[in-house]
């Protein structure tokens, strides 16, 4: 999966001022890591949250569903999981910057 067009699209949106100014775009990881992360998001997050992120046993991850939720707490949920729910911690597989980039990616409504 090529994330190049996605990064370019997000950059273009930012340049147009179409992306919320409060949400600074985290730097996209270098390839091939970015593609690996999008694969992980698509397949492994998608296993519970749905391939199109509209939810399953996991909650929906669409921009509407994530609206108003602080980026930091969403990134923390990815990294640490949510105890008492099936959401596991993904810290063994990605770092903080990468989690923030995935949150940003999801909030843009971009699909893998």
């Amino acid at each position: 999966m090529d994330s190049g067009p996605v990064s370019r699209l997000l950059a273009a949106l930012l340049a147009c001022g179409l992306v919320l100014p409060a949400m600074a775009a985290p730097a996209a990881p270098a390839e091939p890591r970015a593609s690996q992360l999008l694969q992980l998001l698509h397949n492994d997050c998608g296993a519970c949250h749905g391939l199109t992120f509209r939810g399953g046993l996991g909650s929906p991850l669409t921009p509407e569903a994530l609206q108003g939720k602080p980026d930091d707490s969403l990134a923390a949920t990815i990294l640490n999981g949510r105890p008492g729910t099936p959401m596991p911690p993904w810290r063994p597989f990605l770092d903080e910057e990468e989690a923030k980039w995935l949150v940003y990616y999801l909030k843009q409504g971009a699909r893998p």
Binding site: N43, G50, G56, P89
Partner: protein
């Protein structure tokens, strides 16, 4: 022509020509007992495969969002009902490879079942939470049975739907900790029997092959819930409770799946949640017999039809491996690495081969269960579920 041929000759000629025409128009005669459906999750298509000759017969497109899709068969094993995540049911003809009917019946669905008389299709839905019944012929809606309101204030998501004898269906409620049995003998007016207090967060369920027991796996506790449908008045009881006692639960990166292939002969083989073990239980008393250590979080734990071996695949990050457990010695005898992201396994009817789907290598791998050698590989687009038509004649499948 009328003047040249006697009446009898003319009739014979017409009959012969008609037969020839029918032969051109119809596909060659064949049975469906060795056919199957492979889900190609990302492209919204399915392949129809022949498991005797290990080949693809064709592809049917346009089935929508097939992430977590599952399939049941009409009891003549000609039609497959494909349940998509997007809430659609697609009825597919295995012989002509045509999509014959499709209904969008919910916005988020997880699977379905077919009644013991073959006339009713039941869909289990997350959104709106509940079960809907359809006519198996034309997919016309027969009844809507919303699930009871769950902890989240919405009708609970339904998991583990399985058919039982007498046109009944059993299922569990993820958000309401309940097992329900729906009697659809009058499908327009089904009767619901509820069993609350069935354990915390059931994530999937199965019916035993005789349709007597319904078992729900629990995410929220170490244990499973069992309903003996011969004795429903006894209610639901906990089995294999506390299987991980004293051990730290590990994170689960993919929910395991349960179905009737978990039970073979005198044993049931079940995935532990948060523990890298396959639980082995007596299939009558349901007492734990053993816990077999495996290399990761089991997802599918499937007994060969003979019951001699049990095959296990795993959650991320161990989903490139498959382990084979020898039942008498209760030990792993082989670890295979057949491809990246092995999402599903399906045995042929009598278990001479097992088909595996490798999502990230875009292939199906056919393994000989006697030698554990690969017989062949077939191309497929991000394959997930594989469903063979022998399921048509089996309860709980």
């Amino acid at each position: 022509m009328a003047g040249l041929l006697p009446e009898a000759g003319r009739t014979a000629l017409i009959l012969t020509l008609s037969l020839l025409l029918a032969a051109c128009a119809a596909p060659p005669l064949r049975g469906t007992g060795d056919l199957g459906v492979v889900i190609e999750r990302a492209s919204g298509s399915v392949q129809v495969v022949d498991n005797t000759h290990q080949r693809s017969l064709g592809r049917i497109q346009g089935l929508g969002d097939l992430s977590h899709a599952s399939v049941v068969f009409s009891r003549d094993a000609r039609y497959a009902y494909v349940f998509g995540r997007d809430g659609a049911i697609s009825k597919v003809d295995l012989l002509t490879r045509q999509l014959v009917q499709r209904v969008a019946q919910a916005s988020n669905s997880i699977g379905g079942a077919i009644s013991s008389d073959g006339k009713v299709i039941a869909a289990q839905n997350y959104e709106p939470g509940g079960v809907r019944l359809f006519d198996a012929d034309n997919l016309a809606l027969l009844a809507d049975i919303p699930a009871v309101t769950g902890h989240n204030g919405k009708p609970s998501r339904v998991v583990g739907l399985a058919d039982l004898p007498g046109n009944r269906f059993a299922y569990a409620l993820f958000d309401a900790d309940e097992i329900d049995v729906l009697d659809a003998s009058d499908p327009a007016h089904p009767v619901l029997a509820r069993h609350p207090g069935a354990g915390k967060s059931p994530y999937d369920g199965l019916a035993s092959m005789d349709g007597r027991y319904f078992l729900a796996g629990l995410y929220g506790e170490d244990g499973l819930s069992l309903l003996d449908t011969w004795r429903p008045e006894q209610g639901v009881r906990r089995v294999l409770a506390g299987y991980g006692r004293g051990e730290q639960a590990m994170p689960v990166y993919k929910m395991p799946h349960l179905r009737g292939w978990s039970i073979a002969g005198e044993y049931a083989f079940l995935p532990a949640i948060g523990h890298h073990e396959v639980l082995m239980a007596d299939s009558r008393s349901w007492a734990q017999v053993a816990a077999v250590p495996v290399l990761g979080q089991p997802v599918f734990v499937m007994a060969e039809p003979s019951g001699r071996h049990v095959w296990v695949n795993f959650a991320f990050p161990d989903n490139d491996k498959v382990q084979v457990i020898d039942v008498p010695s209760r030990q792993v005898i082989k670890t295979l690495q057949p491809g990246r992201a092995i999402l599903h396994m399906e045995f042929t009817a009598r278990g001479d081969a097992v088909w595996l789907s490798s999502r990230d290598d875009d292939k199906l791998v056919v393994i000989d269960t006697a030698t554990l050698n690969t017989r062949s590989t077939l191309p497929a687009r991000e394959p997930s579920g594989i469903f063979f038509s022998w399921r048509a004649g089996r309860m709980g499948m």
